[in-house]
């Protein structure tokens, strides 16, 4: 009879399984090394400035004084401007795709929206620099400041580059994230929820605003956090249109600076070890913030996945 007792044929399974496991572990190791290296290579700045690094406003490579607040402010301000524009735009588009557009149109538009996310950020920067900046300088900023200039954030500025311009570019770049994810979330809302609202005599919009959006709110919030994480870490497009001035000004039309942008500009020309370590610490801060925001997004989306899975 044929023997069944032999493990000699197992080398293939062990080799292949081992290789898969090895590469999987490599991913873990890579992330661990990434975190470790960022922390280790910012040690000079961590030691020199401590936590005050986060709220100090001075960034002066010549005097070796490094504080990250202007960059943190710029990063947050551009992201907030971007979200204020992209949330209504992205969510509105998602609602249109799910509620009004016929399936084929909806599919096509979704694809086009995804393409928007596929365009490299340096191309956004290019268009921003040659189209949006002149427009803000000559048309948008003058007219807005004329009307609302008494509010500090809308004070006039002659540059065209600045926080607001960067926010507009970022908004276009993150709309696809909000639209694509929100659309999927809205599609998951059970039929029964819609019908319940309609049966109460709600108009189409009332159904959307009272039944569908509340039901999908955690998923929509997830999509917004996902988009926020993108906006926080976006480098090229912002670097090209923000003006790169490490100062905090009231007006959104004034030039600013972001964490990613200062890395892009100063990293390869760092003047001293402390300068380099301060830059890497900015990278570390940026890393930590995006990981937290991404984690929140994932939690919100996970929660939604669980409730709808339990339902079907």
């Amino acid at each position: 009879m044929r023997s069944s007792r032999s493990r000699s044929g197992n080398w293939g399974d062990r080799l292949f399984g081992g290789a898969s496991l090895g590469f999987a572990l490599l991913i873990l190791v890579l992330v661990a090394v990434l975190v470790g290296e960022l922390a280790w290579n910012s040690r000079l700045a961590l030691r020199a400035f401590g936590p005050a690094f986060l709220w100090s406003q001075n960034w002066d490579p010549v005097q070796e004084l490094f504080g990250a607040l202007p960059f943190i402010y710029g990063t947050l301000a551009t992201s907030v401007v971007a979200l204020l524009i992209s949330i209504p735009l992205g969510l509105g588009t998602a609602i249109f795709l799910v509620e009004l557009a016929p399936p084929r149109v909806s599919e096509t538009i979704s694809f086009l929206v995804e393409l928007l996310a596929a365009i490299p950020s340096v191309i956004y920067g290019l268009v921003g620099l040659f189209v949006v900046v002149p427009w803000v300088r000559t048309a948008f900023c003058p007219s807005v400041s004329a009307a609302l200039g008494w509010i500090p954030i809308f004070q006039a500025s002659p540059y065209g580059v600045g926080i607001f311009t960067a926010g507009i570019i970022l908004a276009v770049m993150i709309v696809p994230f909000i639209t694509t994810v929100s659309r999927e979330v809205l599609l998951m809302v059970p039929r029964s929820q819609r019908e319940a609202a309609l049966a109460l005599g709600a108009t189409h919009w009332e159904m959307v605003s009272t039944a569908i959006l509340p039901y999908a709110r955690s998923g929509i919030a997830g999509s917004i956090f996902l988009a926020l994480a993108r906006a926080l870490g976006e480098t090229m497009a912002v670097t090209m249109v923000i003006g790169n001035r490490p100062e905090i000004r009231a007006s959104l039309f004034e030039p600013g600076y972001t964490m990613a942008a200062v890395l892009a500009n100063e990293f390869s020309e760092a003047t001293s070890d402390l300068h380099l370590h301060a830059l890497i610490e900015i990278g570390l801060v940026l890393f930590v913030i995006t990981i937290i925001v991404n984690g929140l997004a994932r939690l919100l989306l996970l929660k939604l996945g669980r409730t709808t899975e339990g339902r079907s």
Partner: protein, 282 residues
């Protein structure tokens, strides 16, 4: 009164729904504006010289981006060599072997990597490659792009392998076929189309990455030989030329943008045709 409130509600309904349509219109028009504007500005500057010549010295007009095109190709080739195997086998591990705690952490690490801003990946490559080798290089740039490819490669591999039903694997096991042979000769071929498309999309995504190259591959106005010299690449050239004061460089930046955009469009459109039911999750 009652009919008044009904009229108001109808009116709100119509306005709100129209606004959502307007949002969609704005979003889609933005895309078409971008495509049109880049094409218009870029098409005039794309010519034989642009594709085959080196950049001219600062201040002279003419010249091209041949070295940047070759540089981008080299960077992408190297990135695939690093990112695809790691991502592919990592994905195989998650779909075919990983069920427990370790799989959770691997998936989590991959997600973290996906969320890391690209400029931070650049720092990582700088610390790991540029500092020890004491110089900017194609190697460092390719490494950075390769790391960026991993998470998407992991996810597409896992997703497409999971689409193959368990019954197919069981059919193979029941014939006394070993697990690795089942994976390699039954499961992977069944998922091949999705896997190839996923990898291509991944490549198209990193092809346009600029930030991680700024202080790894740096830039170069002449040919970069081998793997240890700084190299030019299309995205970095676009950046450098765009922020320069020269009219002729702006023209070439648009041309490079058009080339890069066409690459992205062709790959994404191709993926759309190959995988009509592809579901994108961000």
């Amino acid at each position: 009164m009652k009919s008044d409130s009904m009229t108001l509600r109808r009116w709100v309904n119509r306005v709100a729904l129209t606004l959502t349509g307007l949002c969609a219109l704005v979003t889609v028009s933005t895309l078409f504006f971008l495509l049109g504007y880049i094409t218009l500005n870029g098409i005039g500057a794309i010519n034989w010289e642009f594709l085959t010549q080196l950049p001219k010295p600062v201040g002279e007009t003419g010249g091209g981006m041949a070295n940047a095109i070759v540089g981008t190709a080299k960077l992408l080739g190297l990135a695939s060599l690093i990112g695809v195997p790691i991502g592919f086998f990592g994905g195989i591990y998650l779909s075919e072997y990983g069920h427990g705690r370790l799989a959770f952490w691997v998936r989590y690490a991959s997600d973290v990597l996906n969320g890391v801003p690209s400029i931070v990946i650049g720092i990582f490559a700088y610390i790991l490659i540029v500092l020890p080798m004491k110089g900017f290089s194609t190697l460092a740039g390719g490494f950075a792009l390769g790391i960026m490819m991993i998470p998407i490669a992991v996810r597409t591999t896992e997703e497409f392998l999971r689409l193959i039903p368990a019954s197919v694997r069981e059919a193979s096991y029941a014939l006394g076929v070993r697990q690795w042979k089942t994976t390699v000769f039954v499961v992977i071929p069944a998922a091949a189309r999705g896997l190839m498309t996923g990898i291509l999309l991944d490549l198209a995504r990193v092809a346009g990455e600029t930030a991680p190259l700024l202080f790894t591959a740096l830039n170069n106005r002449i040919w970069s030989h081998g793997w240890t010299e700084p190299t030019s690449s299309l995205p970095v050239m676009i950046y450098t030329y765009a922020i320069s004061p020269y009219e002729d460089w702006h023209r070439q930046a648009w041309a490079a943008a058009l080339v890069l955009m066409l690459l992205v469009l062709v790959v994404n459109g191709g993926a759309r045709i190959l995988l009509p039911r592809r579901r994108e999750t961000a």
